[in-house]
Symmetry: D2
Subunit: 342 residues, 4 copies
């Protein structure tokens, strides 16, 4: 544990004070467990308003749980889930999606972490065979693990292409707020209105202690989902404490403020260094993450002074990520060090 300025991940940050206050305020006597409480009712309504859906919303503990259970509700075990080969579900969830859904992930190479309609062609036009996994869901992340962001039109095109052949569209929205702020639009625009069927809505990276939500834009997919959630080990007994945090994020636009802060700090960092002729980026900068290609020496030297991740060791690509808690001073100190190191 080093006490260095941290550009490693938005879950290295703590929780926003207003979120913690709401959590503490929810500690008011007894209430029913498992979601039958007023906080859950209110937070559900707020998320429905945000995403333009008419229920149902289900709170879960974590992001992997949100993705896996949403996908479980969309599939049967002989189905395949098409996703970029860089997807969080493909890379960083230790096989949980395959293990729990029984499905195979059909991964696609992409230049920037984003699927396109053309990439689905190979799967749509392939003759189906009983020997092969049947594609059934397309899963995208908004923002992606490469820091890139789909436009609402791009999401809509994928939704249409999927629906045309009877498939469904899933969105991993662990960083939904960063995408909305970057696009300067409501999340509604690139979820329900763009044809997404199920969304994981991130809370933790947006300033919560813990907690995510599975939102069903297409309500019939939620049939029996309470039992799916319980069997999936994601039913919180004292659920008011997740709901109260979401309420804090959603009542006064705190979700936007937090994401705006994170994105702005990444922007400040990017603008300060992007002109440097010695610096290339692996993927375009769009949200709250930069992926610089550094010399091994620069990388090592910077990691002695700051906490951040080596993203692709063999290409010497790093990830610099900001959060709601990143300060201008931290960014400025980092910029200075980067300039020295290059």
């Amino acid at each position: 544990m080093r006490d260095l300025p941290d550009f490693s991940s938005d879950n290295h940050a703590g929780a926003h004070p207003a979120v913690l206050d709401a959590l503490a305020a929810a500690n008011a006597g007894s209430t029913h467990a498992y979601g039958d409480d007023p906080w859950t009712t209110r937070a559900t309504r707020l998320i429905c308003d945000l995403l333009g859906c008419d229920r149902p919303v289900y709170f879960v503990y974590g992001g992997t749980g949100a993705n896996v259970l949403g996908l479980q509700a969309m599939t049967r075990p002989h189905h395949g889930i098409i996703c970029p080969e860089t997807a969080h579900i493909a890379v960083d969830e230790c096989g949980a999606p395959e293990r729990f859904t029984g499905c195979k992930l059909l991964t696609v190479p992409t230049p920037d972490g984003k699927l396109t309609v053309e990439m689905l062609d190979g799967f749509q036009q392939r003759e189906q065979s009983q020997h092969w996994t049947l594609p059934h869901v397309v899963s995208i992340s908004q923002q992606t693990e490469c820091g890139t962001i789909y436009t609402p039109a791009e999401v809509r095109a994928l939704a249409d292409a999927a629906h045309d052949v009877g498939w469904l569209l899933h969105m991993d929205g662990a960083r939904l707020a960063n995408a909305a702020v970057s696009l300067d639009c409501s999340p509604l625009t690139f979820t329900t209105d763009a044809g997404v069927d199920v969304v994981s809505v991130g809370g933790t990276k947006n300033g919560m202690v813990f907690g995510e939500a599975v939102v069903f834009c297409r309500a019939d997919l939620a049939d029996e989902f309470p039992n799916v959630r319980k069997q999936g080990m994601q039913l919180a007994s004292k659920m008011r404490f997740i709901a109260a945090q979401f309420e804090a994020l959603l009542t006064q636009g705190l979700w936007q403020e937090n994401a705006r802060k994170a994105n702005a700090m990444a922007q400040r960092l990017y603008e300060s260094i992007q002109a440097d002729p010695g610096l290339q980026f692996k993927w375009p900068f769009q949200g709250n993450a930069l992926f610089p290609i550094l010399s091994p020496e620069s990388l090592r030297s910077l990691q002695d002074q700051f906490v951040f991740e080596t993203w692709i060791p063999e290409e010497s690509v790093a990830r610099w990520m900001t959060s709601w808690a990143t300060t201008e001073a931290e960014v400025d100190g980092f910029v200075e060090a980067i300039r020295r190191a290059l």
Copy 2:
């Protein structure tokens, strides 16, 4: 949602204020995610001290997750898990243990929720067959779902019987603290020292917001468990917030104080009414739960004034449960109402 005095469940209570304070205090800047933080290190040591084990301890989100992942570490999918037919894993986890471990639960009828060595005989002495599930783990709850408690000697006898035939002993300790207080001994006595191999240590019901621990008394069973936990969707990113709560429970004996309070309130309730000739109990009273057999009219009348669960509808058995937050006034009001209703 009714604002009535609540004897329904120890997870209807909120979190203990000192736990919430610790959670807030942990919100101090950035730290590494996923357990690589000082709170996790300290809380791990405290649990090791309490249970007399030498690591490893793994924090997870919830009680079902703790049970399922502990059992997953102890089994292969063709194994069977012997448990009382009233066990939480058999009744109230929506099939999660079978789904995730692949194992069959081999349930045993019991008079009071407790397994005995004699009950294992049928499985131990049965000729093994390739057509049958191979028993491999015995799982007990301490305290049980019937409110009863194993003595250390009873646990030891089960452990010996299991180990003699190459099986393992698992303990669901969601209410470990209540059992320890009732037995007036250290949890060490009826876990590590009694031969238990893996324990789920409950935090939520003992006054936390969320969070449980999987403790490996037999360390080699924890090989690769970090990956089991991640695949099992139970790896918290901001893990310091679970660890800090456990630290609060364990530093000043708060875990005991909370359990003592819950048990004392149940005791106060029991002593006030047990002499009533019209009142029978389904199972012996030992911890923080009473299971009265009421007339359907009494049951209905009391549920108009208090929140509690009907446990066995067809026998008109209720469950009255206390928590760290139950007050003497609440108990006394309940006693009065019970007397009226009988």
Copy 3:
């Protein structure tokens, strides 16, 4: 391996010579694999005719595979499957149904291996909870593992009760032929016409080398079943060799002849000994299996001379089972020995 007369199981018998001849005759040059062959087309039509369904029929390797994949097509993993506690799927398939479907088996004690509508009441009337497995399928065996047989009216009553609450009815028909012969009716009467949704049709115990069929009386449940079968490891490459055997059984009524022979031999045995005052039977005799309650000495003495199974060791209950290959001489020799032993 002892060369003793064998009343152990109908899969201790070999294959009927006409079945073997058909298998050999199918060895005629090349044909497409995986079911795209004329034998499969013809055998499918014959089974459809027999069970009054309009496709689809799927051949699989074995009986456990037939049951598990049929149930898989009827369920999602958070569902429960209600069955007698003596059911083959509950007792003798090493947890394969739970492992593959993810479902919990909700077992019911029965006096004779048969479910009744009353036994479903507890599940139908129970308030549903997110903590509990959701019942979705009722599974019965025809004939049962206790040797008993449902009348068409009994099956219809179960189907109606299941359908009334949105559930489905599954039939394990490993010994469908024995039941049909005993009832003196077409299998149509107690399958499609009685409301059964999916049936496992047994071939092996009826005189085949290997091979069973999954028949969908309700066709929409078979959507994507070819992929379910492949993922379930039950797709035979040289499928013509399963189909040709079924064709042999079904063209000249051989399936009936074989079952009639098995049942007649069991009848001969039963009639010769049932009057003996020292002999009780555990369950009523109806098909091709008897379950006598013997003294431990009689049991041991008879097992020195004949091959048969001890069914319930603690009650000294044996199983005597006949097959299409059992001869009158074998039965008569057995009767004589039984008389001596009693």
Copy 4:
């Protein structure tokens, strides 16, 4: 169904007459089911002799079952299985390996379907993370799905590299016989003696009606495998009929004769056309399969006259495969047509 000469797959062929004779000869009265019979004992010994292992050998129904259950015995669900991206387990088993083992397949691009030690480096040297699947098994096919064959030294190198880091080596030997004949050596040389831990030994493609074997070169991996096989729906009740076929293949060297015939016919085809300047092959010819790159017109024209598969539609690559039943006349007729088409 077209009655055209068939170069599509070695499972389009029927069964060798001597195999069918043995199957019929095994139909001699009653015998114990599930492998407790003399045929199984004898065939087990013959396979042990062939592969130089000292038991255990387990017969199963099909090739997917053999692969999946062998892998199941080698893994826990959070493990990864490294294999070529062209592997049968990765492409043609409808996700059965992932579904049953819970493991993720870690696929590797290869030029010719063969893994090399260098390809393992990326996995061996990668820092392990709780977020990632833990590699534990390397799985290769002998012969590969690209028709290529590992030398014993190549297998040994992979085994050493795997064992050095605590992993295991699995071999899909559906076409083991073709590889042995092509290498002109005993299968022992490239299985047990080369360090392979578990092998699927193919029967069906070598001239059987159905049936494969899972062979444990490393015996301790077979602990409790009978239950794994039953739970995996691969336990044949009348197992003598699988064993008798293997006995036929293994007693007089029929397995070699069949493979030699298949390879010789492929060789005859290859030699007759390989000099044609207009003909390229996708992968080197080594066993019983050719992968010619044809013009779309040639491909279409030939498929009007012969049955064979288009292997890579977008590259116009076909697969021509021979079997034990392919005749010289069929090859010569095919050669003539190919020459005309080119």
